[in-house]
Amino acid sequence: MRNSNEIIDDIANREYEFGFTTDIEMEMAPVGLNEDTIRFISAKKEEPEWMLEWRLKGYQAFKKMQFPKWQHFEMPELDLQKLSYYAAPKKKKQLNSLDEVDPELLATFEKLGIPINEQKALAGVAVDVVFDSVSVATTFKEKLNELGIIFCSFGEAVRTHPDLVKKYLGTVVPHSDNIFAALNAAVFSDGSFVYIPKGVRCPMELSTYFRINAENTGQFERTLIIADDNSYVSYLEGCTAPKRDENQLHAAVVELIAMDHSEIKYSTVQNWYPGDKDGNGGIYNFVTKRGICKGNSSKISWTQVETGSAITWKYPSVILQGDDAEGEFYSVAVTRNKQIADTGTKIYHLGRNTRSRIISKGISAGHSDNTYRGLVQVGPRAANARNFTQCDSLLIGDRCGAHTFPYIESRNSTATVEHEATTSKIGEDQIFYLNQRGIDTEKAVALIVNGYAQEVLNQLPMEFAVEARKLLSITLEGSVG
């Protein structure tokens, strides 16, 4: 009979279950990064001159920047000259329905447990599939069109709504924000664009599945979401990647803009390939996500379930500029084997009566390292600003690490900033109790972890909560999930 430590170890060391690749012919950019690469990408995408110029500005900024040093992990050696910065499926013809999508791609989604065909029927989920760099299928477009909602690939938006893109691109995450954002500005491949007009409540979850599928191809998605006055949108980004030996850099940028009385809910389920149990391979997920509550009484809420990647390094942030604006960050980050997560949020209270809520649940297993890093900044004008932070860490086994770095900077004496933190271990008593009811250790751990993450999972749109739960279980089927 194996003891529960052995089982937990086994679970914690489980190989990634979603590792497989799809064979779709690629069109690659030459390896390396220079102005020519950027011109190649821009030309491939038939971009207007202003877009190319913006990319080149990003590249100029990038050249002057260095990798940061403050992170709580050892930065892997990254040779950005060895990556190829563009890959696209060759078949580029317009598709009117999912039936026209490459059957192999559909089979891939099947394996991931994301039956698109069912999703169409499900509570109205529109799916804009980004497969590698180019969107190959967009659904529910017509219905959205009727409401004046724009939901398309970023590349398409550059062509069809250049004024909107020009007006907002880089206004939340400037081309020179940080080295990875600058890199993204220079070489971004594709991504999604959403515009919700004044007074419109988007009637369905907007959702995109990203997937890295080319060897040695950096992924540089760029997403821009604008919610105009009195509008609402819920957006879900979910991803899972095939098995790879080479490390892959993923440096996405997401910008959210919420105008007066509008609300953006952005949910992420991240399951990039985490590397094998010795930490070889796996995705570097270095993402810049930031939203601005520009208008009064606007709201932005980030929810993330992070289970994948060799290194997850990101701080989805909210700038609360309007008065009475509200920001939220709900996070579950799971690490196992040799995975690293250094994640959290930054909330900037600028307007009066702004509120924020941060709920972070870190779960570490194996030899992994899980760091929460959060900044709550209150500006001088932010009278009566309020923040509540709850930051919990759950440890599975005794070789993993959990760290919490909360930074609070308040320049207004009427502000209230609260921080609570706990660290706990999955108890043998809990596991034994569940064992005694006929539940094996693997499932017991999954059950306990799902319970632990409940508060965050509850924030996800229902269908995705189900999926996220399944993902946590599979991951911590491997690792407390």
Binding site: G427, Q430, F432, Y433, Q436, I439, L447
Partner: protein, 254 residues
């Protein structure tokens, strides 16, 4: 149903069970009594398979199978249930979700399909009424914030739901007021049947006024030192354990 032969077990290098012999047949209700620290919880833990206990000698046969070879979850699936002396809390996991998982794991083990939600809810309602369990507690997180009494009653509710062959109740009565005790006892009595057996560990005779045992065993210092019928429980209530301890020590010194 259950045969325990010369069972020795230790924990942290300390010998706790020192040769337990016990035979439990279908339909029987056995009470285990004994002073604090005599090894009652240890016995139930060893039977349920708690991993920090090491069996050093002896064997346990449960329904013709070697119990000690099985994992804790397989013991449960084979029909052994333990109501914990100290039930644990599992935050964020609803009582019902937990029970449904448990029930379906057991069904899968026996080659049965998972129970439909509708059927499950029906069963839930039936059992909840049978053992008079507070319906409001069913959707709460498992034992989280439950009072001591509520936790104990939840154990009995789970027992009713999972319908095991052999149920071990470890001091399910302690911490209950007299009304709760009556309800718990009534619940257990309703679950008694010709093909089930119970091992009820208790400190107090008073539970045995409601749940009438076929046998009473006294555990002392890791051994069963006396076996009798319900009258033995009354005698213990009256005279305490000291006379028994003396008897044991006299035997030892002979």
């Amino acid at each position: 149903m259950l045969t325990i032969k010369n069972l020795h077990a230790e924990v942290d290098g300390k010998q706790i069970l020192k040769g337990i012999n016990l035979e439990i047949r279908k339909g029987e209700m056995h009470a285990i009594m004994g002073p604090n620290g005599s090894g009652k919880s240890s016995l139930s833990s060893v039977l349920a398979g708690r991993e920090n206990y090491t069996v050093t000698q002896g064997e346990v046969i449960f329904e013709g199978k070697n119990l000690l070879d099985m994992s804790p979850e397989d013991r449960a699936r084979e029909g052994l249930f333990m109501a914990f002396q100290y039930p644990v809390e599992i935050p964020g996991v609803s009582n019902l979700h937990f029970l449904k998982t448990a029930l379906n794991e057991i069904r899968t083990y026996h080659g049965l399909p998972a129970m439909e939600s509708k059927e499950f809810l029906k069963l839930t309602k039936e059992k909840q009424q049978l053992v008079d369990f507070n319906a409001n507690l069913m959707n709460r997180s498992l034992n989280e914030g439950f009072s001591g009494g509520e936790k104990k009653r939840n154990e009995v509710f789970q027992l009713a739901m999972l319908d095991p062959k052999l149920a071990i109740l470890d001091e399910t009565d302690s911490g209950l007021d007299i009304d709760a005790l009556r309800i718990v006892a009534a619940g257990v009595n309703k679950l008694r049947s010709a093909d089930k057996a119970f091992m009820v560990i208790t400190h107090y005779q008073r539970l045995l006024e409601y749940i009438v045992p076929d046998f009473v065993h006294v555990l002392y210092n890791g051994q069963i030192v006396k076996t009798g019928t319900k009258e033995l429980a009354l005698e213990l209530e009256e005279k305490g354990y000291d006379w028994l301890k003396e008897e044991v020590h006299q035997k030892e010194s002979v």
